[in-house]
Symmetry: C2
Subunit: 333 residues, 2 copies
């Protein structure tokens, strides 16, 4: 039985969608136990109308809530009774195998390191985001809150990303690309130029070389390695361009009668496409390199995204990814 | 009369489209004189079938060509008789007012600094790219080849970008945003955190604060300031996402009869939209901060894009932007 703690209070649609997502996950998998963490007096009434196996659901009270705008380090230190801190302590105390939150990314990242701690040998945990591409999915790592990483951090990201793609998404021999603004080895900034030779000579990963940013959406690699500022620019640009384009396309279609009729006809195909390009369908983003699994789901997650993030934890726990990460990063030391 | 030197040999469609673009520009504006720089024996035959005012067109021979893959600094130093080097020398010797190239961005940037030189007080010239948005255009600066810029460089980029938007695109009081992965002042990496207070206290620019990457495509600022690695990630991500989405949309529509019929009906609106989102329609990217105007057009430019890049030079020269840049960056020293 895999025990998954869920931050019931984090995210735009909390606690309603978090609770509903937990129930959906419970009903979809018999392998999990769910622990809802948050204000019990708000959570209990939301459970009253739902049907689920009550033996596999518990509530752990946490009175405080960390808001998205709060400086993460200070929030984690001062709000010990917040759903994020309490949930992460369940992980640390081995009372849970995984923790899922739609709350403040910064607080989850800082709290994950302060409370759950890093895996032995890991210098910096990383947030890995699945990015939909024309060919499937690319794991972009790091998209976290700790920017200005060093070359040796990026090598560890490459290992963690490769293991994730291999064991969780069943990609046979994942290809790793170094995110860059050109393909030649000497291209890029100080960080990419120093990282390239390290990745090239690192055993245990299949390094393709530089992955040009322009080629990422077409799916040129399985794992795209970068430091977190660049990772955030990429995911946010993806989101921004896709959103703007879809809204402009809608506007363009509505601008004429001909377009309106055509628009009605193409709507089902476009909806399906939009869904393919919606990363949240695939569950949350794992924070790799921590002791215990922490998954960050999007702040605007609905119940179905919470459910997907919870179910994602099953594969992670079953494959004992943490142990594999420890082996990979410590073997050459 | 504004004298514009054109690199006839640079780009994927050279020399044909470069020569045709020069002729189109000559026929569209009576204010310009065009100097085609490159292999005269290849250029002359292409001119033979064209109609234009021969008094305003000349050819300056340059036997060598710098290829896109060559390391820029070495290419500029060793190929003195290349179209890029010869064209930039015309600029330096005041035999031309502007130089337009579709060739190697790196070589144009390096050559621009080595041959034409920087404006007094400018520490680092910057490549400014116009990015189409839902509201119009945002100037993204720097998208050049010199990465790892310092905070004081970004302040100069903000001035140059504001002056460009004001005098060339006639934006009344351009709003400047610092490209970042969050809106709060303390967000981002070491560079953005150090740059923020400098921009906030800098007279002569209207600083909006951090511009979240996700909001760039919707057009939240007129000038978006960043260092070149980030600038390149943004423009290439824009290009990559738009290209992939449009191709997937086409595929989605073709997957059913209903979609095919609808696709035919919406095609004209989408084509118009695609054109709005195609940056090359607006001419090349100016390299701001050099002595003399250098414009870099896209490597895959057709004749019409070459023409647009050439015509863009008129406004630049007429407004004496270089003088305005010198005043702005030297006033507080």
């Amino acid at each position: 039985m895999i025990r998954i703690a869920i931050d019931a209070m984090g995210g735009d649609n909390a606690p309603l969608c978090n609770v509903k997502g937990a129930v959906l996950a419970l009903n979809e998998s018999k392998e999990i136990e769910v622990i809802l963490v948050g204000r019990e007096k708000e959570i209990r009434p939301l459970l009253s109308g739902e049907t689920f196996d009550a033996d596999r659901l518990s509530v752990v009270n946490a009175e405080e809530v960390i808001e998205t705008g709060e400086p993460p380090a200070m929030a984690v230190r001062s709000k010990k009774d917040s759903s994020i801190c309490v949930g992460l302590r369940l992980l640390k105390d081995k009372k849970a195998d995984a923790f899922v939150s739609c709350g403040s990314t910064g607080a989850v990242l800082v709290g994950g390191q302060l409370i759950a701690g890093r895996l032995p040998g890991i210098r910096r945990p990383a947030l890995a985001v699945l990015m939909p591409t024309a060919k499937g999915m690319t794991l972009l790592i790091d998209c976290g809150a700790n920017v200005d990483a060093k070359p040796e951090n990026l090598v560890q990201f490459a290992h963690m990303g490769s293991l994730y793609m291999k064991y969780i998404l069943h990609v046979e021999d994942p290809a790793v690309g170094l995110v860059n603004i050109g393909t030649e080895e000497e291209k890029g900034n100080a960080l990419t130029r120093e990282t390239y030779p390290l990745l090239k000579n690192e055993p245990g990963i299949r390094f393709l070389g530089n992955a040009e940013v322009r080629d990422l959406p077409s799916g040129i690699c399985d794992v795209a390695v970068c430091e977190a500022f660049t990772g955030n620019v990429i995911t946010k640009m993806y989101e921004g361009v896709a959103k703007t384009l879809f809204s402009e396309i809608k506007g363009a279609m509505m601008s004429s009668l001909r377009g309106k009729i055509g628009g009605l006809l193409v709507k089902p195909s476009l909806k399906k496409l939009l869904k393919t390009f919606d990363g949240s369908e695939y569950g949350g983003a794992p924070l790799l390199g921590l002791s215990g699994l922490v998954v960050k789901a999007h702040g605007n997650s609905e119940a179905v995204q919470v459910k997907n993030a919870v179910l994602q934890c099953i594969g992670f726990s079953k494959n004992d990814l943490s142990e594999k990460i420890i082996q990979a990063v410590n073997k050459d030391q």
